[in-house]
């Protein structure tokens, strides 16, 4: 026993990676490789989100529970940047709506200027109210005009039609902007104000995206967003791909007759094209994740990182040494949120659709937090491991719940109330389990799977 725990202590990283590989392979063999790959891809995206949150929590102790809001902003930017534009809608009300938003922005800038220069508060309020009403005057008509353009297919402004990678960057920027706003207001106040305010902004962002159809069709969803990898259909028709599939299955295909061969090849092509596309995504996400982790770790070991740690470990001492604590926190909050935004953009790129209803603000925010806590707060690689395990169990908990229901049924005989109840409500058990895991880890292993390494300053 002692020996085992010693091995675990000294090889935490390797063991957890091996366990994860084994679990994915298990799903691949027993369920399907496509499923294993899609779990893997979503794990990678969650890992990027968890990394962003870990930077905020582990580097600065900032508690952000608006993760889904930032992720939705990232997703929105994919629509705004890379979706094809809708010229009809733009001419119907594009300029007008832009003008309305500029008016609002102008009034906000004006009121900030007024309040900075100690003008009477009445003027500040007046400027905001005037801005709001003049915005609404133009806005309502314009929004209606845009939404009236072919409502079943478009009914929104469309995007700029630019390449997808640009949209990822824009997603990061958009999320960073929102984070700047929230951070500016709440950092420097009580630490739980940031939590409450970030929770609030996430809700508001989601409300706006759901209700303002001209932005991204609201709950009618935007589908068929451009992808950075080839389409399955194109792959199935390209000769080089067919050659590759044939080469992979040389031995089994050579046993078949010509007619059987074409039929089998068709099925194989379909299967391989799906796997190939998923693998492309995996490569892409993995590259981004690795790049982000390397950057985060380099930053953490640099003089900047030493400053960050000094502030985290003792704010008072650090500020006595002339470090600007509030500024530092704002910086970290923005960086972390930007990473979450990028992950949100990647998620939308991966699914190829923007569905505002799927951003259930607290549910997935909570999931990401469990990942960070379980993985090991403060350890970047830890949050990746946490993301893998938690996402894996989140996805696989439904089959597990059904399996449990079946076992109960087999054990207690058919037609008993318990198994029917479990089958119907099994997916609510997940929240209870996730909550329990979080509480247990926080209490008994606050370091998580991979605790942060002690670094000498």
């Amino acid at each position: 026993m002692n020996n085992l725990s010693h091995i675990w202590q000294s090889h935490r990283q390797t063991i957890s990676i091996l366990v994860m590989v084994f679990l994915l392979a298990f799903v691949g063999v027993n369920q399907s490789w496509v499923l294993a790959l899609s779990i893997f891809n979503l794990c990678l995206i969650s890992a990027i989100m968890a990394l962003g949150v870990n930077i905020q929590w582990g580097y600065a102790g900032l508690f952000n529970i608006g993760i889904m809001g930032f992720a939705a902003l990232g997703g929105l930017s994919v629509v705004l940047i890379s979706a094809p534009s809708v010229p009809m809608a733009v001419s119907a009300g594009g300029m007008k709506i832009l003008f309305a938003l500029c008016l609002l922005l102008l009034s906000i800038v004006l009121s900030v200027y007024l309040s900075k220069h100690k003008y009477n508060k009445g003027w500040v309020v007046l400027s905001l109210v005037a801005g709001y009403f003049s915005m609404r005057y133009f806005y309502v008509d314009a929004a209606q005009a845009i939404e009236a353009v072919n409502p079943s297919k478009t009914g929104y402004l469309g995007g700029l039609g630019l390449p997808v990678p640009l949209a990822w960057l824009a997603g990061g920027l958009l999320a960073a902007g929102a984070a700047w706003l929230i951070g500016k207001i709440t950092l420097g106040l009580r630490s739980d104000y940031l939590a409450i305010a970030s929770f609030g902004i996430a809700e508001i962002v989601l409300y706006i995206i759901k209700n303002e159809d001209w932005i991204a069709r609201g709950v009618k969803n935007v589908t068929g967003l451009p992808r950075p990898v080839p389409l399955e259909i194109d792959l199935q028709q390209s000769p080089w791909f067919e050659e590759m599939v044939v080469w992979f299955n040389q031995s089994s295909l050579s046993l078949l007759t010509e007619v059987e061969k074409t039929k089998a090849l068709g099925i194989l092509l379909r299967e391989y094209s799906v796997v190939f596309v998923k693998l492309c995504y995996s490569g892409l996400f993995l590259a981004i994740l690795v790049a982000l982790i390397v950057m985060a770790n380099l930053a953490f070991d640099s003089p900047w990182g030493r400053k960050v740690r000094a502030i985290r470990d003792n704010e008072t001492a650090a500020s006595a040494m002339g470090k600007n604590v509030k500024r530092q926190h704002l910086q970290i909050f923005i960086i972390g949120s930007a990473i979450v935004g990028i992950a949100g953009a990647l998620l939308v790129t991966y699914t190829g659709q923007f569905t505002p209803n799927s951003y259930q603000s607290l549910r997935f925010t909570f999931l990401i937090w469990v990942m960070v806590i379980v993985g090991g707060s403060g350890n970047n690689f830890g949050s990746v491991i946490g993301a893998f395990f938690i996402w894996f169990f989140w996805v696989e908990s439904t089959p597990m719940g059904l399996w449990l229901a079946e076992t109960v049924q087999n054990f207690a005989g058919a037609d008993n109330g318990v198994s029917a109840f479990l089958q119907e409500r099994a997916h609510f058990l997940r929240y209870i389990f996730m909550g329990l895991i979080m509480l247990l880890v926080l209490r008994f292993a606050p370091g998580g799977i991979l605790p942060e390494k002690d670094k000498k300053l």
Binding site: I185, I196, I432
Partner: protein, 340 residues
């Protein structure tokens, strides 16, 4: 000039659709906000599981209501839910005391950072939420029985001879009366009883309170008891008014926090005032004033648009905007609460 009747009609219209509902909603929020503020000032953390605790208390009430109805233990015309509230409070108290014993106590004794405890409360929130959904299912349930109205709009019109009616729902009257009673009792308890004074001392200066022999465990237990009472009543009143669905309760979290911060975090009176600020702003800003102004303005000036300041779908956004304004202008809230 509009006639006296028109002015009266306009006022009745506003009362029926804005003022009375806002008063009711504000009373429900106030009880929830008071619970958050109590936890905040005694246990020193922002309790994110408040909304889900309310859902839990309501779920227990619904189960008990069903049981009482099946046994025929009802009083005609009186909501059965109110009969079983004391029992539901007992269950909720047990549940909250268990979370205290198993979860929060450890962090309190070890003087953990408040933000860690906030995180823990989010864990509790998900367990509670999962539990409620597991028991009740996600669908909306109506559990109010008895008379729906004290008087209906039609009765009011016949009585007053006006063209607008002011209906008074049973749920509205019970909310206002019960909230008054609960708040009154809590304030009496805090001001007059020995343990209430101990609680205030503990909130004011923990070390000094401990030094003068106040038993911290007793203070904490009493706090959770008060919180359970407020939480269950708030939840049940909200459910009687709007029906029970776990998701609806979840949405209450933001308005409750906004109330607490607007009023001044840690100040009981502030929580109540904050709740009414939030509820009245929500209702006043999302109401369409067209009909109201038709009564008041001469025919030539009658508006043709809805005259709605903010779309109804942004009802919950209002509380957030007010929250942000308060954080910008006066972070301590209306009644100077604790900040920093």
């Amino acid at each position: 000039m509009p006639s006296f009747d028109d002015v009266l009609n306009a006022f009745i219209l506003l009362s029926n659709f804005v003022l009375l509902p806002a008063l009711t909603y504000g009373a429900q929020l106030a009880l929830g906000a008071l619970a958050v503020t109590l936890v905040y000032s005694i246990l020193r953390f922002a309790n994110f599981s408040q909304a889900n605790n309310m859902a839990f208390g309501t779920a227990m009430t619904i189960l008990l209501t069903g049981f009482f109805q099946s046994q025929g233990w009802t009083i005609s015309g009186f909501p059965t839910a109110l009969l079983v509230v004391p029992l539901a409070i007992v269950i909720t108290t047990i549940c909250l005391l268990l979370t205290e014993r198993w979860v929060y106590r450890y962090y309190r004794i070890n003087n953990a950072k408040s933000i860690t405890v906030v995180m823990v409360s989010i864990g509790v929130m998900f367990i509670m939420g999962g539990l409620v959904q597991l028991i009740m299912g996600p669908e909306q349930q109506i559990f109010a029985d008895g008379a729906r109205f004290i008087w209906t709009a039609r009765e009011f019109k016949a009585f007053s001879g006006l063209s607008e009616g002011l209906a008074l729902k049973t749920s509205q009257l019970t909310t206002i009366l019960l909230a008054l009673l609960a708040v009154g009792l809590v304030f009496y308890f805090l001001q007059k009883t020995k343990i209430g004074k101990a609680m205030r001392a503990f909130s004011d200066n923990e070390d000094l309170a401990l030094l003068s022999g106040i038993n911290p465990d007793k203070v904490v237990r009493t706090t959770w008891l008060l919180v359970a009472i407020l939480t269950t009543i708030a939840g049940v009143l909200f459910g009687l008014d709007k029906g029970f669905s776990p998701f609806q309760y979840h949405l209450l979290l933001l308005p409750i926090f906004a109330s607490v911060i607007v009023g001044g975090i840690g100040s009981p009176l502030g929580a109540i005032v904050g709740a009414f600020v939030i509820s009245f702003s929500e209702m006043l800003l999302t109401y369409a004033y067209k009909k109201f102004f038709i009564y008041l303005l001469p025919t030539a000036l009658e508006p043709d648009s809805l005259l709605q300041l903010i779309g109804t779908e942004y009802k919950y956004a209002v509380s957030f905007v007010i929250l942000i304004i308060v954080l910008l202008v006066k972070p301590t809230g209306i009644f100077k609460g604790k900040v920093l």
